[in-house]
């Protein structure tokens, strides 16, 4: 890398890719070559920078200039002005929404100030398709250290001491899991990486695999060394083609360097990796279901115990960890368990990656120390609520989590606090909602997801969630009663207690947490047949204000169901029984006479 004077890093993550960052990369390369700069300037695609809201991102090193929302049309100016003349292009810099100042260096941006990137340490810094760049940032040093200086038990002890817990949602101690698998006696054992990120609104695993695939490969090899396994399997969603490509490239490079395969680094340890493709089933995030899916079966979970650590893939001991968990491992070995354990809160060590999305100014991928408060995440990193609206709730943990409100904003985020608040860490989706969101509809949205994704094996999940959905639907139609809310609650507890796997046991969380935190809204839907945010169509009424109506007949002519009557130049009336609430009248009225109640 050292022969280049300047590096142009173009984000090649999925979000930026979707905004033509590949074209931008090509254009930059072409222009750099055209100007004869290709021996001095290196243009590469990196993994996700995290600041997806402002993508595509281009970063110029070594002066650390951070350009946002760059289009292919800007390529020439970047080369001419910045690379050749050394002048920063003001209009492409990030503008601080508070004081309208242009900020060139990402370190001074609110979005990055509070972040601490461990799992994402290489995302946006290195070319994920070049193993040398990973190695130059201490890559594979941890593996070498484990194989040559430490016994498997020493590595396990270090992991236990670090306090690292599973980042896929469960929060089980990683070191302990490795220890249990290492003690299972068998001729063959497996290391499995769970990259089946099914939580809608979460994309951290994908970003790690796209931006830093070697960190996962290295960690899986370390895990293999600890538990006595020579085969690793990555179970990855087929919907992630870019991540699959990068992972394949990385595996091939690691083999070429003797970091995978027989006799790794001449130590006598052998380890290799294979990919297994998921085919779109949320329940396959559950480890027993995932294992069945890898065996070519329907991804249905089975009762634990036996845990996969004892009997997993084809009945052999199998250690399943999530992508983000693995990404933390090499750093822990390199910097030591004490360093890692010094970050975070009492029982949750290290950092957590969150996919911050929804009604928030700075959508993106963030990584913060455990114990950071929701307020810091939403207001300082996330830049507050979009369009100056009022914060209403934040949903964590996806379909298994709950909605937290204003009163939770100052509690520190960690595994235990989130559970105490009625939600959970989950894989790290964090969706922010504002005053325009109806919480009954949100609960219904999640139940719709669960009903669709339930594997159908156990009755509480298959039938119970369907009934929950139906009751919520009844509420949003304005046909609910107070008894319905009681039924929702009772049924939720029954499902939690009796469902077979984690998906079913947590599926009522969105219902329970919204009932708990937004009781008023539920009552309004039931007692007053009113939806304060106007999301429940059936509860809306379109009304014509007689004082403003001039009788132009525009609304009546555009009504698809002829629900509006009235004489020309006379006041019009909407027949509520016929109205389908399409909103055409509101759109067509030029006199502000139509309004929603």
């Amino acid at each position: 890398m050292s022969k280049y004077k300047m590096h142009v890093l173009v984000c090649g993550g999925t979000g930026c890719h979707a905004s033509e960052s590949d074209q931008l990369l090509e254009d930059l390369k072409t222009i750099v070559t055209e100007k004869g700069l290709d021996s001095e300037v290196q243009v590469i695609a990196t993994g996700c920078f995290g600041f997806c809201e402002k993508g595509p991102i281009v970063k110029i090193m070594p002066d650390n200039t951070f350009y946002t929302q760059v289009t292919p049309a800007d390529a020439r100016e970047i080369v001419d002005e910045h690379l050749i003349k050394g002048r920063k292009i003001n209009r492409l810099l990030y503008v601080d929404p508070e004081n309208q100042e242009h900020i060139a260096d990402s370190k001074h941006m609110g979005f990055y100030k509070k972040q601490l990137r461990i799992a994402l340490r290489n995302c946006g810094f290195i070319d994920p398709e070049n193993i040398d760049e990973y190695i130059s940032r201490d890559g594979y040093e941890a593996l070498a250290k484990c194989l040559t200086e430490m016994t498997p038990q020493q590595v396990i002890d270090e992991m236990k001491k670090s306090g690292l817990r599973g980042r896929g949602g469960g929060g089980f101690s990683t070191g302990l899991k490795w220890e249990i698998t290492s003690k299972s006696v068998s001729d063959v054992k497996y290391v499995v990486c769970n990259a089946d990120e099914g939580d809608p609104g979460a994309f951290m695993d994908r970003s790690i695999l796209e931006g830093d695939p070697h960190s996962v490969i290295e960690a899986m090899a370390i895990c293999g060394y600890c538990i006595g396994s020579s085969i690793g399997l990555v179970y990855i969603r087929a919907e992630y083609p870019l991540a699959i490509d990068r992972l394949k490239t990385a595996i091939a490079q690691a083999r070429e360097y003797g970091l995978l395969g027989n006799n790794v680094l001449d130590t006598g340890f052998s380890f290799d990796l294979e990919l297994r493709y998921g085919a779109g089933a949320f329940v396959c995030g559950e480890e027993t279901a995932l294992i069945h899916s890898m065996e070519g079966l329907r991804g249905e979970p089975t009762v634990k115990p036996p845990f996969p650590s004892v009997s997993g893939y084809y009945g052999k001991p199998t250690n399943v960890n999530n992508v983000e968990t693995f990404a933390n491992v090499p750093v822990i070995i390199n910097k030591g368990a004490d360093w890692f354990a010094s970050i975070g809160s009492e029982n949750s060590k290290g950092t957590k990656v969150f996919a911050l999305a929804g009604k928030i100014n700075n959508v993106g991928l963030i990584e913060v120390p455990m114990g950071t408060t929701l307020r810091e995440v939403i207001y300082e990193i996330g830049g507050g609520i979009k369009d100056g609206k009022k914060f209403k709730a934040v949903q964590t943990g996806g379909p298994s989590g709950g909605c937290l409100t204003e009163k939770h904003l100052d509690s520190p985020i960690d595994y235990d606090n989130l559970i105490a608040a009625g939600s959970m860490m989950g894989s790290g989706g964090m969706i922010v909602m504002d005053e325009d969101d109806c919480m009954v509809s949100i609960a219904k949205f999640y139940l719709d997801f669960t009903v669709e994704e339930s594997c159908g094996k156990c009755a509480p999940c298959r039938i119970g969630n369907k009934r929950l959905y139906e009751i919520l639907d009844k509420l949003t139609q304005g046909k609910g009663t107070r008894e319905d809310i009681d039924s929702l609650r009772n049924l939720s507890y029954v499902i939690k207690d009796t469902a077979l796997c984690g998906l079913g046991q947590t599926s009522p969380n969105p219902v329970l947490s919204t009932i708990e935190n937004f009781w008023d809204e539920y009552l309004e839907h039931v007692d007053e047949k009113k939806c304060r945010s106007g999301q429940c169509k059936a509860l809306l009424q379109y009304i014509i204000e007689p004082e403003n109506c001039v009788g132009c007949t525009a609304c009546a002519r555009n009504c698809p169901v002829n629900a509006i009557s009235g004489e020309r130049k006379g006041v019009h009336i909407i027949d509520q029984a016929t109205c389908i609430k399409c909103g055409a009248c509101l759109e067509k009225c030029k006199f502000n006479a139509v309004f929603i109640k």
Binding site: A18, C52, A238, R276
Partner: protein, 159 residues
């Protein structure tokens, strides 16, 4: 379902795929991925061939095909439209975008237009939440789609 005659060429290709996985029943999902790549979808006839090659019951194959949302037994349109219904897209108005596609193309979610041009489907999170709501036409991603913008997307392909 009407019997579909599978072309001999593609049939051989399918059998070769099964063979490349050693006709191993544990490789069923990998075989199905490849088969959907060849045929575009997985009609009953394809499933029967796979069952025979891997020496498992057709019910087993059918059970797996219908379990996973990635596999489809219906052919998709020439331009498959997928609307993301992940939470981030949902709270930013994806439902209204779906309604607009349904209205413009006169199809329901999961259906294909009679001319075979467009099919409409929902998917859960493509991981581009910064661009919510997101619509995919084939592999092309459209970000920050508003109901008003739907007609422009359709027009791009309707020519």
């Amino acid at each position: 379902m009407a019997t579909i005659k599978l072309s001999a060429n593609k049939l051989d290709e399918l059998k070769a795929v099964c063979k490349s996985f050693n006709n191993e029943k544990g490789e069923l999902i990998n075989v199905l991925h490849k088969a959907q790549g060849i045929f575009g979808y997985l009609p009953a006839e394809v499933q029967e061939v796979i069952a025979k090659e891997l020496n498992i019951s057709v019910a087993h194959v059918y059970g797996v095909v219908t379990f996973y949302s990635f596999f489809t037994m219906l052919p998709k349109g020439e331009f498959p439209i997928s609307i993301c219904l992940g939470t981030a897209c949902y709270v930013r108005g994806a439902e209204k975008v779906i309604d607009e596609f349904k209205r413009l193309l006169h199809v329901n979610v999961g259906e294909t237009t009679p001319d075979g041009k467009f099919s409409v489907a929902c998917l859960r999170c493509v991981g581009a939440c910064g661009l919510a709501p997101v619509v995919l036409v084939g592999d092309k991603v459209y970000g920050r789609v508003s109901p008003e913008g739907v007609k422009d997307i359709v027009a791009e392909y309707a020519k």
